[in-house]
Symmetry: D2
Subunit: 230 residues, 4 copies
């Protein structure tokens, strides 16, 4: 929490419960971290990571319910909820299916038209959010290789996950200074972004976030919440 | 829905789910019915009717979560959520334990200080809500016998549930004209109220509500949402 | 219950709970009905009808858990559990994917190698069950039209569901006397079976089952549990 | 697992799920550890530790369901399930209320009359199990202080939890050699037992179990499964 500026908080369907949510929001507040909803599929046993064939109506209802529940904790803490980002299989669905991406953005807007949708640069979720009139926070990854279509290289492919600290720093340099990234097959690709995304359950996440944040700040950049940038 | 002015909507812990909640809110809107949250214990198998020893902190977190979730659907429908009323075992706990009653009222206030707390006249939940600064909607029952302390006579006692239509009408006359009720042992007791409460799962509820509403309107009274009265 | 000889009982993941299971088993016993497990996906909100991408290992664990739970109630009632039949999306998966069908049969066998697997004639689930060494009970449908590959005609296609009582009786005559069925495009197709399957939630199920059972018995056939036939 | 002889395995209501159960049973098998069911209240958010007012019928249904589910995994692994021990609030209820203790024992017997009921020496659960005709495995605690009625001293009282290794060893000496324990107020009390119980989530559990087992074996005692002793 001390190292990040925006947190995605699970809302009870794939993980989290009312007590964990209250506690996480309080922790975020203490550390000046902006809170976003991280709604998932109703799949506690599978941590929301398994595809489920849900209709767009079901999807929207799951979003409204979960976002509303977290928003109540955030507002009870005297904060304003900043953003929404789908979790796990929903996240994957939001990248693969424009119709679902629009439905997610619509549901977020139903709850609050001032929400920001967070998603990787160049994805249909970014497009869907813009289509329905929500602001977006575009995410880049410092520790993941990219394909030429701006998708992340699948973890099963060698080189997909970048673990070497110097390589990560070099990628941050390139991202911050030129808004480009070198793809897995060596091409230079434009990649605009407002946020660098990190999974809390990546092994070595604590060290990685220190490397990333430390390097970003050494470049003279002040890390801010997404809402303060866009 | 056509006969009532305020509805208590389950929020997913003891009954209801995101789809049912969306649908019920839409139905309420169509019929001009004000919506309130009806949070319950996390006890789906027991329909929230079994006592659970939850701490006041746990209780508050369950309230904030569920109220927030329903509020999102209500606001997505372009309405304002009117009130909060605990369900089942929580309702019973709110009548028996002033400390829990205050906790429930505090949690409702955390989500929105403009919420009304609905509870039977003379209960500690009414007191708790007033103590934390929320408005209250006091409920009377037309089909239930009262004890002298304003509690309802336990259903296991003969005469606790009034089924005879003429008796119910007579009680409504007395309630509306004198704000009093005759207790089970024949005494006349003051009973101020803003709402007449009915359980949707009482056998014959549809006829009963027609009897009550019909009789109330024949007395020349216009039925309104609680928020329009207090 | 009075009309059927084998019942598929939900095991708590998509519907049912310990009390409902105990009660349903007791009802089956009273009526001399054989009980089978009807395991579903862990999807209470979707009644187990939505596809979920579960691994074969996950699938097997869901089967063992649910079958074991129901088996305990069946044995506590002094009965022997007769069969296993997947529910909803699992059922569809068992017809579409031979690998999953084998996994389901293996999981059933893990719990009891004497279980019968119930499935429509000609499906990969029948093959999977036979492959792992379980006995099978093949189901025919009297109120549904068939394709030439023995699959049921999709409900969205006109003529898929047969509602006319005389047509249903004629199909039963043909099934019972010749073990054939006329497909939707008019061809006569062999269809061996040990059971006629009916969904309890088909509109008019109570009348339909009387029509079917009455007609079967008028043909001089004694309806028995599957275990008594194979 | 390497240090214990009998394991209590959660069955999904308060913790555990089908995958965890399969995996834990496999781990127990690898280590020659006997498996018992550890059924809990349907209270995932509260880890089954909060009292719920369930009827004896509800209680029995929860037991049969959970015990049956775990038994299926145990038998699928080619083992025989050894025992049943209630978890958390159910455990507490089984010690406080003889009627509930009998109900639990009856439910265990419904699933398998050969089950052993594990419970602390001198409790109503031991009596209830014997009353319904089940065998019992009586537990002693090496790291907890006792009252004169054989109940454990409440953790909130100083001296309730014994942390000093030498004291624990001395208590084991006394237990093993004389079947007595010194109560918190210094009296010597008879305490027959077949098992020494340890909570896996006690801080320092791994060291504690090594201390206990090491010391027991140095006394020349061979640690066996309960089923091998009684």
């Amino acid at each position: 929490m001390k190292m990040i500026s925006s947190a995605n908080v699970a809302c009870g369907f794939h993980a989290g419960d009312p007590h964990v949510m209250r506690h996480t929001v309080a922790l975020a507040k203490e550390n000046g971290v902006a809170v976003g909803a991280h709604p998932g599929l109703p799949d506690l046993m599978g941590f929301g990571r398994r595809d489920m064939k849900v209709s767009t109506d079901e999807l929207k209802d799951y979003f409204v319910y979960q976002i509303g529940a977290l928003k109540a904790f955030v507002e009870a803490a005297g904060m304003k909820m900043q953003h929404v980002k789908p979790h796990g299989a929903l996240f994957k669905m939001s990248l693969d299916d424009g119709r679902l991406a629009v439905a997610m953005a619509e549901a977020a807007k139903e709850v609050d038209p001032e929400f920001i949708v967070m998603a990787p640069t160049g994805t249909v979720l970014i497009e869907g959010a813009q289509e329905v009139g929500l602001r977006v926070g575009r995410e880049a990854y410092a520790d993941r290789a990219y394909n030429l279509d701006k998708s992340l290289v699948n973890r099963s492919i060698p080189g997909a996950v970048i673990k070497d600290t110097e390589s990560i720093k070099a990628r941050i340099d390139q991202l911050m200074q030129t808004s480009t990234v070198t793809t897995i097959d060596g091409q230079t690709m434009e990649l605009e972004f407002e946020s660098i995304c990190l999974h809390g359950d990546t092994p070595g996440a604590a060290e990685l976030i220190q490397t990333i944040r430390g390097h970003v700040e050494r470049l003279g950049v002040t890390v801010k919440n997404v809402a303060q940038i866009i």
